[in-house]
């Protein structure tokens, strides 16, 4: 366990260095885009004279040299201050904190569901390889994988919300209903079904295909023959010997996807009007709300790095060889 702690500490130090680099790069990237918040705000206010814009810029600190702005920003981020959105007249951290739970609820549920179902279906297909159930799963997975997410979302919403009226078509909760406690949870859950299924279907397909392919490959290896030669039953061979070894590449991909929990939800949140980080990002781009945008980037990067470390730790737990190869 000492080895694991050491590994973890080492990774954290590296992560901090990577994070600072990302903050700087993001800052420069955002400022490379044409237009700034002062221009957009002045435009919206309908008073686009030079003086007003210049005044706004001075107020936001946008008239300072870029290097100075960068130094101020990085200095604040290091202290945990993500800045202030002049657009919304609130600290960025408050805005993010308000939106983050909705996004995580949606994407984490979809992630866990897709991983569980994907591995299960993939393993089943691999065991049944060549039979009709294998073909059915493979075709289903291909279909789910090839259909764009927004299309699946729109069609599901059309069927279950508009035509059948079973589920709400969009939003996070029934506005104005004032539910509390269990009723509120149920209400949110009903709203979650369609976006979660849409998102999960896509990733489930990827996991199912990967698990199936990986299991078929592992099954051809020598140690599986050894297991059969020992006279073990098929269930034990498939679970203890085949699946356990086949799960490693699945974990790699799952780790990458887990990093996208925050950043990858823009499309689905737009389709289902889900009040999360994804929609916030979309709006922030349109409004040139630099501070908010940078805040979102930062949170996304932290998530990616965090899940990378978690993936590596998980790898170390499953595969004993990793600790030595470190």
């Amino acid at each position: 366990m000492l080895g694991l702690a050491q590994l973890f500490a080492g990774r954290l130090v590296k992560a901090a260095a990577i994070l600072i680099t990302i903050v700087v790069l993001n800052f420069l990237l955002v400022h490379a885009a044409p237009g700034d918040p002062a221009m957009v705000m002045a435009g919206e206010a309908g008073a686009a004279d030079e003086q007003f814009v210049a005044q706004l810029r001075a107020q936001f600190g946008l008239d300072r040299p870029l290097t100075e702005q960068l130094a101020t920003y990085v200095g604040k981020v290091v202290q945990g201050d993500l800045g202030y959105s002049y657009r919304q007249q609130r600290p960025v951290w408050d805005i993010l904190w308000e939106r983050l739970p909705a996004t995580l609820l949606l994407t984490l549920t979809a992630f866990l569901l897709s991983l569980a179902l994907g591995v299960l279906l993939g393993a089943f297909a691999a065991v049944q390889v060549g039979r009709w159930s294998d073909s059915a799963i493979t075709v289903l997975a291909l279909l789910a994988y090839a259909t764009p997410i927004y299309w699946t979302g729109l069609m599901l919403s059309l069927l279950f919300a508009v035509e059948l009226g079973w589920l709400p078509a969009f939003g996070y909760e029934t506005i104005g209903a004032g539910y509390t406690g269990l009723d509120h949870a149920l209400d949110v859950a009903r709203h979650m079904v369609l976006p979660v299924v849409t998102l999960a279907l896509f990733y489930m397909a990827a996991y199912a295909r990967l698990t199936r392919a990986s299991m078929l490959e592992v099954r051809g290896q020598d140690f599986v023959k050894t297991a059969r030669a020992k006279g073990l039953g098929p269930l034990r061979i498939e679970t203890r010997h085949v699946l356990r070894n086949a799960i490693l590449p699945v974990i790699t991909v799952a780790g990458i996807q887990a990093g996208q929990l925050v950043g990858g939800s823009i499309l689905i949140e737009t389709v289902f009007a889900w009040p999360g980080i994804g929609r916030l990002a979309f709006e922030a781009v349109l409004q040139r709300d630099y501070q908010v945008l940078l805040g979102i980037f930062l949170v996304t990067s932290v998530m990616v790095i965090l899940f990378n470390i978690l993936t590596d730790l998980l790898y170390g737990l499953i595969d004993p060889r990793i600790q030595v190869a470190r």
Binding site: G10, D222, T226, A229, G231, L232, H241, N245, P320
Partner: protein, 561 residues
């Protein structure tokens, strides 16, 4: 070879009675049956060696006995496998599973991959006990430790908690044996169990298998292609070819008075104990001088910590003269390949000098080294992995010269000439590597190396992946080329019999050092180092002399692709 049971005087009911066994291959295979009309018996307390070249159906037979054929593509098409009177072929799967691993156990060739990398070795042995015995948890664990102890592994209790990657090849094979014997089977099938091991480890494993077999009076079916091993352990020998049994009889009969022409050819191709070719006189200045070459690898490690150092080369000094063949022998991990690769420039040593015609290759820049890439060429061990499967053979051979400025047309023409030189048809240039057999691919590898017109050829185990008869052909080819082109060669091998045959000078390596170097005759007849002696001692079947009339038999013709 103690008392030899006569083939005719078998007990009333043999342990295993195979009658007319046929195993069908899927449509489109190179022949309809992997095994055809095979009949033999295996008795208690008997070692039956099954020999033949790759593809002869030996392994298929073993897999059929275990019910491990890759169904549904390969299946038993006819005949019966009677184990104590019960036919394994018609037995329901559940019954078969009870016998498999319980009454009939098997050891495989490749100890490095035959164990589940994610499971502790003790748990893997325990699985077998759980499947076949009524022992409880604590009893099972005690039995596991007992088994590991009985196969001669140190610290069995601790070792049972280790993962396979911590163990060496020899140790893993011992674990496999412990696993196979855990349920005290009546029959043990060993499919080339020592082929992937070093000579000294091979000797230990053979001794172990034989002593356990004798103690438990098991029927042992031992599959091998090595007649030295056969001579060492067999009571009876069965020779297979293309799925058919060509000869079966007492070991003494088959080894010393083989009747079938194929058996005679096979035995004729075996490297003959220790024999030498006429020595090449040393001429002129040394072509290559290696001086105090050192190389240490760091296994593992990362940004914040150094890895574990593994010394692959320490003060290695070696001289090669034009036209001379220097053999580098030793066990795996002794640093042979590291030295070979350093000379070719694939690895950069940490220290020392490698002088090629007086120029220190290690002091040269990348650009300065380039001309020498031509002069030193390498032939790799695995002919299946060392040729790019997406390129035609002609391209593979022509690429080197083209990279050094030769016109494509000229290089292609030369490639065709070289293919003829190595005994292939010039039309092979238009085909892809997968269309050739292992031996033919190794010829292509040699042609590729020769295309660069090298002065020195580094051959890293060039024949160890090939069958005996094919081995012989490739060695003959190398010998012929050496004579014709006056090529110097560094020949890396773990097989002392081969080294003896084709090398002028032998360097014996152990743990990154050369422990002995001298003329082949001196090293083999009068070894000075204790380690060299133990290597020579471990050659299997030393006591057996190949029948004199077979020594000059030509090698068996290589099968067409």
């Amino acid at each position: 070879m103690a008392s030899l049971p006569q083939d005719s005087a078998t007990p009333a009911v043999p342990l295993l009675d195979v009658r007319g066994l046929s195993v069908a291959l899927p449509d489109g295979a190179d022949r309809p049956f992997a095994v055809e009309g095979l009949s033999f018996t295996l008795n208690p307390d008997e070692i039956l060696c099954m020999v033949g070249e790759s593809g002869s159906g030996k392994s298929m037979t073993a897999h059929a006995m275990m019910g491990l054929l890759p169904k549904p593509h390969v299946r038993v098409a006819g005949g019966s496998l009677l184990f104590k009177g019960r036919d394994l072929v018609t037995l329901p799967e559940a019954e078969q599973r009870r016998l498999r691993g319980g009454r009939i156990a098997m050891i495989f060739q490749e100890p490095m991959t035959a164990l589940n990398p994610l499971m502790r070795v003790g748990d893997q042995i325990e699985e077998s006990l759980r499947a076949h015995t009524a022992l409880r948890g604590a009893e099972r664990r005690r039995r596991v430790v007992e088994m590991l102890d009985s196969v001669g592994l140190p610290n069995p209790a601790e070792l049972s908690r280790a993962y396979p990657f911590r163990l060496s090849g020899g140790q893993r094979q011992r674990v496999m044996i412990a696993m196979a014997l855990a349920c005290e089977p009546d029959i043990l099938i060993a499919d080339e169990p020592t082929t992937a091991l070093d000579v000294t480890t091979q000797k230990q494993i053979l001794d172990l298998i034989r002593s356990i077999q004798a103690r438990r009076r098991m029927g042992l079916m031992f599959i091998t292609h090595d007649f030295g091993v056969v001579a060492e352990i067999a009571d009876r020998v069965a020779v297979m070819r293309q799925g058919r049994l060509v000869e079966i009889g007492a070991a003494d009969e088959v080894l010393n008075r083989p009747r079938h022409p194929y058996t005679r050819a096979l035995i004729g191709a075996v490297p003959h104990g220790i024999s030498h070719r006429p020595e090449e006189p040393r001429r002129g200045e040394p072509l290559l001088v290696a001086e105090k070459v050192c190389k240490t690898f760091h296994v593992g490690g990362g940004l914040f910590r150094a890895g574990k150092p593994v010394v692959a080369g320490e003060d290695i000094s070696l001289t090669i003269h034009p036209g001379e063949t220097v053999g580098l022998v030793g066990e795996s991990g002794s640093g042979k390949s590291t030295l070979g690769r350093s000379i070719v420039g694939l690895i950069r040593p940490d220290g020392g000098r490698i002088l090629f015609q007086g120029t220190d290759l290690l002091s040269l820049s990348r650009r300065g080294f380039r001309p020498y890439r031509r002069a030193v060429q390498m032939v790799f061990q695995d002919p299946y992995a060392s040729l790019n499967p997406r390129h035609t053979v002609g391209d593979i051979i022509a690429q080197g010269p083209v990279a050094f400025g030769e016109s494509t047309a000229r290089a292609r023409e030369r490639a065709r000439e070289l293919l003829r030189l190595v005994g292939l048809d010039a039309s092979a240039a238009a085909r892809y590597p997968h269309e050739f057999s292992g031996g033919q691919r190794q010829r292509i590898s040699i042609a590729r190396a020769l295309a660069m017109e090298p002065k020195l050829l580094v051959a890293d185990e060039p024949v160890s992946a090939l069958d005996v008869s094919v081995q012989r052909q490739v060695l003959d080819l190398l010998e012929d080329i050496r004579k014709r082109l006056g090529l110097a060669m560094l020949f890396i091998t773990h097989d002392l019999r081969i080294a003896a045959q084709i090398c002028d000078t032998i360097a014996v390596m152990r743990r990154g050092r050369i422990v002995e170097m001298g003329s082949a005759r001196q090293v083999f007849s009068d070894p000075r180092d204790g380690y060299t002696r133990s290597l020579l001692d471990a050659i299997p079947g030393k006591a057996w002399q190949i029948p004199a009339e077979l020594r000059q038999t030509q090698a068996v013709a290589e099968a067409a692709p």
